[in-house]
């Protein structure tokens, strides 16, 4: 098994060199930015909206026990079954047992990143249940047997001819270069799956303590079909999705739409407050909400980075990130890519194994600025670096810093080193770019800047002598 860091470095190099794919992704994200700015401008005060959203999430997360208990109480009062899962195993077992108990044959799913996190599809298939992803992007990724590239735009890295070929190979459709035709192929294929399925699995973007509801945001209508037709609806949700009040959604829904996809409102924002109630025409007989921890409480315990749990998974930080644009989503090797993924993954999956993600940042702060709930993302990346070094210092890093400190404290030594640098650089071409080159990481793909022939000390002395100011 290759270490996550080695895999990350290897894939970064491969993907950063794939210029056509990079350009394609960059253009798609540019289109998003234009639409996002257009809708952001419609807000009377976007900055205050962010501040307020951040405060509401702060309240929810910092009283998580109180609001989760309130959610469970209110949901159960309407016939919803609430299960708290500490681990992925518990969540998977709960769903598998439920499916077995109810003689479920086929399962339809709408987009849920939490299920990616716990590898639910694999577990269900291993138990013999047919599982079909219904979100178009997720359906495509399922056919490709590949995780989503981006947690909001799952197949944004694919071109239409690749999708056409995929559909042709996997579901036997005719080739076409029209995105509309391709969408209709998926529509026709999935229609009967909705009708056949006995269980629908969704995620949730928000859970509302006050009313015991979950709120699901989507554009395609696949989540609505998934939650309307099958006789059982299971929602798999992270515990951090909490909002205290129902009306909080009047702020969060347009902010999620705007930051997430450049839409003032996403196509369907649906709140589910239970299974079919007396007097209602349709809807599932049973509604289960599986709330999962999976190390979120470890992030919660970090008083400094707790606000990372405010995240509403809009993907805005990925869309503006220069690192994401260059290395792409799969390179991260995580469920959640991009800046927020780099912040939270070390907490969810181990600091030492995932600390390299916090190094893959230019610290430009574009993510922090884009975040609709004002998570201090780029500072959290720095904190992860600090915490990783404090927990397990790297010997060569440490000795480098000792050497550097020594150098900076010895003016004479520093002077002679800068004085002789041009001479050393004269011989650099002998090893440049090779394995012997101490600057190899840099010089493999870039030129190293020439050092000045005069040191600053000499230059200053000369200026003074000339009487210049």
């Amino acid at each position: 098994m290759i270490a996550p860091k080695s895999l990350f470095k290897r894939d970064s190099a491969i993907n950063a060199a794939d210029v056509p794919r990079r350009t394609f992704v960059r253009n798609a994200l540019h289109g998003y930015e234009v639409k996002r700015d257009l809708n952001k401008a419609k807000f009377q005060d976007w900055q205050s909206a962010r501040e307020t959203a951040s405060e509401i999430k702060f309240e929810g997360i910092n009283h998580l026990d109180k609001y989760l208990a309130e959610f469970a109480k209110n949901a159960e009062a309407r016939g919803t079954k609430v299960f708290f899962a500490s681990t992925p195993t518990q969540a998977r077992e709960y769903i598998i047992n439920l499916a077995r108990e109810k003689n479920v044959r086929s399962i339809i799913k709408s987009k849920t990143m939490t299920s990616e996190e716990i590898h639910l599809n694999d577990a269900l298939e291993k138990e013999g249940f047919g599982v079909v992803e219904s979100d178009l992007g997720e359906f495509i990724q399922q056919l490709r047997n590949e995780p989503p590239y981006h947690f909001v735009f799952p197949c944004m890295h694919l071109k239409r001819d690749e999708i056409s070929q995929l559909f042709h190979d996997k579901i036997g459709s005719a080739q076409t270069d029209s995105p509309e035709e391709l969408t209709m192929i998926a529509r026709r294929f999935l229609r009967e799956k909705y009708i056949q399925a006995d269980m629908g699995i969704s995620g949730a973007n928000f859970i509302v303590a006050e009313t015991g509801m979950i709120s699901v945001t989507e554009n395609e209508g696949n989540a609505r079909l998934t939650t309307s037709l099958p006789k059982i609806h299971v929602a798999l949700v992270g515990i951090e999705k909490i909002l205290p009040k129902l009306e909080d959604l009047s702020l969060f829904l347009p902010m999620l739409g705007t930051a997430g996809a450049g839409q003032l409102m996403t196509g369907y924002n649906t709140m589910f407050g239970g299974p079919r109630q007396p007097g209602e025409t349709d809807g599932p007989e049973e509604f289960h909400v599986v709330l999962i921890d999976n190390h979120r409480t470890e992030l919660l315990a970090d008083a400094e980075q707790r606000d990372a749990l405010h995240c509403i998974r809009c993907g805005a930080c990925l869309n503006v990130c220069p690192v994401f644009k260059n290395i792409g989503g799969h390179t991260y090797g995580t469920t959640y890519a991009g800046p927020v993924g780099s912040v939270i993954t070390p907490h969810l999956r181990g600091l030492q194994d995932w600390k390299h993600l916090s190094g893959a940042s230019s610290l430009c702060g574009a993510c922090t600025e884009a975040c609709p709930v004002k998570i201090d993302l780029h500072h959290h990346l720095l904190q992860n670096r600090r915490n990783a070094a404090a927990e397990k210092p790297v010997w060569w890093e440490k000795s480098l810093w000792i050497g550097f400190a020594l150098l900076m404290r010895q003016p004479t030594l520093y002077y002679w080193l800068t004085k002789t640098a041009p001479i050393a650089q004269f011989f650099h071409p002998l090893v440049k770019g090779s394995i012997l080159d101490p600057m190899q990481a840099w010089t493999r793909t870039r030129e190293f800047p020439m050092s000045a022939t005069t040191t600053f000390k000499d230059y200053w002395k000369q200026k003074k002598k000339q009487g210049a100011r």
Binding site: F58, R78, F153, K159, I195, N219, R224, G267, G283, F287
Partner: protein, 234 residues
């Protein structure tokens, strides 16, 4: 492998949360709150959100402009007869063979004048039958001018499936149902259902079903309705 009981796993999770929250959060975002301490954030939400005019005409105009952007067909009609005539024209144009609807005062007045056979989903219905209908005609809870959204609920809109399974969704609404913004929509829901219990299904439907998953190019009718028509009656 034995899995822990529901109550055990709940207690364990709550214990971990309480332990984690023992240290207060260090956060920079909350040093300068925008709200005075005595004002609840909800009271001020409307002032950050997109502006909506105060008069009915301004709100109607905004809903109409949002509809254009969203590719919703929006039409103000003078009577149930005019609404039915419009639907009959749509039926001819789109070769509808069957439409579905639910019980309701506006629906009943319009459905009586339709030339297309009508399938009712009032109490029990067959989802396979509903899937073969060319249009689903529903009422709604409210129209939201700010976002061009239609607020649907199970009791007001014939349940969950009627508004999403057929390829064309038609909404019949009254002028009095047009409201300003999202906070007003939630206030309305609270007044109507807060005490007696919320419906199991509430949805803000904003335009027809759409996707941009393939090359970020907009395609309508991904899984839900390809077309959305909103008719505003007196």
């Amino acid at each position: 492998m034995s899995s822990p009981s529901t109550a055990d796993s709940r207690d364990a999770l709550f214990a971990r949360i309480r332990e984690a929250l023992a240290n207060p959060a260090i956060s920079h975002a909350h040093e300068h709150p925008v709200h005075p301490a005595n004002v609840t954030p909800e009271a001020t939400l409307s002032q950050w959100l997109p502006a909506v005019g105060a008069t009915f005409e301004e709100q109607l105009d905004l809903f109409a402009r949002n509809s254009v952007d969203l590719k919703t067909e929006f039409k103000v009609v003078a009577s149930a007869e005019e609404a039915a005539a419009h639907l009959n024209a749509l039926a001819t144009e789109n070769k509808w063979t069957k439409v579905a609807t639910h019980r309701g005062s506006i629906n009943d007045a319009v459905a009586a004048q339709l030339t297309t056979p009508v399938y009712r989903v009032d109490d029990q219905f067959d989802k396979v039958q509903l899937e073969t209908c060319d249009a689903g005609i529903t009422e709604c809870e409210a129209l939201v001018a700010q976002t061009g959204s239609v607020c649907l609920t199970a009791p007001s809109s014939g349940g969950r499936s009627l508004s999403v399974l057929p390829p064309h969704h038609v909404v019949l609404a009254r002028r009095s149902q047009l409201i300003a913004d999202l906070p007003a929509a939630y206030a309305l829901l609270k007044t109507k259902y807060g005490a007696k219990g919320y419906p199991s299904f509430i949805s803000f439907t904003t335009g027809p079903s759409r996707t941009g998953d393939i090359e970020r190019i907009l395609v309508l009718g991904a899984h839900g309705p390809k077309k959305l028509t909103v008719l505003l009656l007196p």
